[in-house]
């Protein structure tokens, strides 16, 4: 076996120091297969070497948290023996290279993370960022990514119920495709990945292993001189049909007690699954690679260990249960092979054709993985916004804003996703958060993901807080009690101190908000190096939240329900225009500080609104976010076809009042007769509340301006994306 050298290590993306570290922990030079295993386990993706120190500071516990970060996904308790298992994950780079397959396999990967723990996926979300709408690649990327997400999720029969999409030139060379999966399990049937015990069979199930995803750079080594470009596809093709079978087969086996531990083969497939299972179980694993089901002839141990073929799982069974398990996987027409055994050596040992081809202490791969405290600097603070001229017509500005890239309707996207399969979707895409009933019960979860990258860019700490707060607010707006979040931290190159600074501060902001809102982080994913030629993306820490509603019949939604209702605004309006969509779209200025976040106020206002919904006193709510109050009102009008007459009800400029992006605000519509009581209840709760006007007619009228027709607003709002996509 060829001994690896420093050059090989560098080809594999390892640094010289990391190479020396390998020599130290191995006490000898590794061979190429072993080097490949190290390179994968010590990669940013698997080891979190740049981010781990900071992630450790996030709050991860609460009485309802069953499993925090560290397993395939986080688990929370929603009562009655039910658990929700969820996580978000990125597939950014593959989606840029091949948008359909990249996005599809991203969806497949995150679903496996969730069902490997024993959950049936019940909801999918996606957070997408594309470049400038006018960029020549954008249309192609949007259409491929959306078709890929739909293609995989729809076939799986899991409803895709919510998401978010932004366009900004900072993503021209690096789009973001983050997918979130939410699953349902029983609290006493949660499966972990530890390969405990010695002498237990290690079983491979799912699809066969091919040469998928073995990266060009790591293939540059001598061992593969005859492998042609043809043989090295670096983009994986998803097979949702096989995944659906794998899901059903796993859940069927999980109904028995045959499984000791189970883990999906995600990035770095067999390598990371076997190492992580052994590490968590405090055991060793011995694999006979001759037994690995291969799709192609002549696959080497190196290829088998590094392949990223999709739709595969690794399990450790109780001894003697193999036949029973095999029967289930055969029924579902899936590959099933006993490929190894757990040991007490705490080593990962691989044999192939009678020879030992790798022998590595598991701890060296896991605990000894490098850990960096990368230098960071605090990014420059955004300068004050300065004067903003008073807008001449709120209605005219609104007409432009609702048809702008970040505010236009996402219908073209979400109508390609099956959002109602499983027949438990109560709030489809288009609401503040989606609502999915827990099957055969009267309770439901609410889910949504959010982040406002331009705020994070202007102020990483406040932007991190805001991402959490907005997610929390969206869950609250439908009547759910927010319980926990997952995150997907997308940033540029962490070796640049200013990017690392964004990361560190944003994570602090997230942690701060999660603590203040009792909204712990139970799982997550980090995607770094999202930059091209030194141009980093906007820092984009996406937050995916889950909330619980005990009585699904008590929920609120965005559309006005009828004319003659009073419109109330909850929360304080200062007219903050810094980093607002208004100044960006209308004045071409991406300037000013991000809005201030006060988490005590956030919580107080949100708790008040939720209390009204839970009491059955409120059914029409929309939170105020991008575009401010005027846009929130327009969304309520467009979704119902009902207009409103409203008037400025505060100090400050009209522009600031209608388009400012102050936080912690909600718009409510209530029967006229309820206004007084709600206002007095708000006063008692210390919550700012004011009446803005009432619903009426079919146009929106601000401060006595000429009304803008809701129909016209809606036409512009609905038209933008289909037009873009029609080329």
């Amino acid at each position: 076996m060829t001994e690896a050298t420093l050059t090989h290590a560098i080809d594999h993306g390892l640094s010289e120091d990391e190479w020396k570290h390998i020599l130290r922990v191995m006490n000898r030079a590794p061979n190429l297969t072993e080097l490949g295993i190290f390179s994968v386990m010590w990669s940013e993706h698997c080891s979190y070497k740049s981010s781990r120190v900071h992630l450790k500071k996030l709050p991860t516990s609460a009485p309802w948290v069953i499993q925090g970060p560290g397993e395939n996904a986080g688990v929370i308790d929603i009562g009655d023996g039910d658990a929700i298992i969820f996580k978000m994950e990125s597939h950014n780079h593959p989606s840029f290279i091949e948008p359909y397959q990249g996005a599809a396999t991203g969806v497949g990967g995150i679903m496996r993370d969730v069902f490997t723990m024993g959950a049936r996926p019940i909801a999918m979300l996606n957070a997408l960022r594309f470049g400038d709408p006018k960029h020549p690649k954008t249309q192609h990327l949007v259409s491929g990514v959306v078709a890929g997400i739909g293609g995989y999720g729809n076939c799986m029969g899991v409803p895709t119920v919510a998401g978010e999409v932004n366009f900004h030139k900072a993503y021209n060379g690096n789009i973001l495709v983050n997918a979130m999966c939410v699953g349902l399990a029983r609290t006493d049937k949660i499966f972990l990945s530890a390969a405990k015990g010695s002498g237990n069979p290690v079983v491979y199930v799912g699809s066969k292993t091919g040469r998928d995803g073995i990266h060009g750079a790591t293939m540059a080594s001598a061992e593969f001189d005859d492998a042609s470009e043809e043989k090295r596809p670096t983009v994986q093709v998803g097979d949702p049909f096989t995944e659906k079978l794998l899901l059903e087969a796993c859940l069927e086996l999980m109904a028995t007690d045959a499984i000791v531990g189970i883990q999906d083969m995600g990035a770095a497939g067999l390598t990371s699954s076997s190492c992580e299972m052994a590490d968590k179980g405090g055991s060793g694993i011995e694999l006979n690679l001759d037994k690995v089901p291969c799709r192609e002839k002549g696959m080497t141990p190196y290829e088998m260990m590094l392949s990223e073929s999709q739709e595969r799982m690794l399990m450790v069974l109780k001894p003697g249960r193999e036949a029973e398990a095999e029967k289930i996987f055969r029924k579902w027409e899936l590959d099933f092979a006993v490929i190894g055994i757990t040991t007490d050596t705490k080593r990962l040992v691989l044999t192939f054709k009678g020879e030992t081809v790798a022998d590595i202490p598991v701890a060296a791969l896991a605990d000894e993985a490098p850990l960096y405290e990368r230098p960071w600097v605090e990014p420059e603070h955004a300068k004050p916004l300065g004067e903003v001229a008073e807008c001449a017509s709120v209605g005219a500005a609104l007409q432009a804003l609702v048809a702008s890239p970040d505010l236009a309707s996402r219908r073209w996207i979400y109508e390609q996703y099956d959002s109602t399969v499983m027949a438990d979707t109560v709030q489809k895409p288009g609401g503040d958060a989606a609502i999915v009933r827990i099957h055969r019960t009267n309770k439901a979860i609410a889910v949504k993901c959010d982040v406002t990258p331009r705020y994070v860019q202007a102020d990483p700490f406040a932007g991190g807080q805001q991402a959490v707060a907005e997610t929390w607010r969206n869950l609250t707006a439908v009547g759910a009690t927010p319980l926990a979040v997952t995150d997907n931290l997308n940033f540029g190159n962490p070796q640049r101190p200013e990017i690392m600074g964004q990361f560190v501060l944003a994570v602090r902001g997230i942690g701060d908000a999660c603590r203040a809102l009792d909204f712990p982080v139970v799982s997550g994913n980090v995607s770094l190096y999202n930059e091209t030629n030194g141009q980093a993306i906007l820092p984009t820490p996406a937050i995916g939240g889950v909330g619980l509603m005990k009585d699904v019949t008590k929920h609120a939604s965005v559309p006005f329900k009828g004319e003659g209702q009073a419109i109330l605004l909850i929360g304080d309006t200062k007219g903050h225009l810094g980093q607002s969509i208004y100044v960006r779209e209308m004045l071409g200025r991406e300037e000013g500080p991000a809005p201030a976040i006060d988490l005590k106020i956030e919580r107080r206002n949100g708790d008040f609104v939720r209390g009204l919904i839970e009491a059955g006193r409120l059914t029409t709510v929309h939170d105020v976010s991008d575009g401010g109050l005027a846009v929130a009102l327009a969304e309520m009008a467009m979704s119902s076809g009902i207009g409103a007459r409203v008037a400025h009800a505060g100090a400050g400029s009209r522009t600031g009042f209608w388009f400012g992006e102050d936080q912690a605000r909600y718009v409510l519509a209530v029967p006229a007769g309820d206004v007084e009581r709600i206002l007095s209840d708000a006063k008692l709760a210390g919550v700012p509340a004011v009446k803005l006007g009432e619903t009426s007619g079919t146009s929106l009228q601000f401060d006595g301006e000429a009304g803008v027709s809701v129909k016209t607003l809606k036409a512009g709002h609905e038209e933008w994306l289909p037009k873009l996509m029609a080329g």
Partner: protein
């Protein structure tokens, strides 16, 4: 001139459709069927009389639109 472009997944790239077709044929009792791969075929009319020029234009179409060369190969036939 009529042309036919055939676009197939590169060998080594998983072809779930081909795999499923192979299994279905097997279930239907067709024995002795080896590997099955599924691809696309695109037939076009070109207002071109010169074969070399036609080929050049078709290659460009394939590179730009008809095939995704990250995972697919294409072949051009003129009729």
């Amino acid at each position: 001139m009529k042309a036919r472009v055939t676009v197939m997944l590169k060998s080594g790239v998983l072809d779930p459709q081909g795999k499923a077709i192979g299994q279905a044929l097997d279930r239907l009792g067709f024995q002795g069927v080896g590997e099955v791969r599924q691809g696309k075929v695109i037939e076009l009319e070109l207002d071109e009389t010169d074969a070399a020029r036609a080929r050049a234009r078709l290659s460009e179409m394939c590179e730009k639109l008809l095939a995704n060369t990250v995972i697919e190969n294409y072949a051009i036939e003129l009729k």
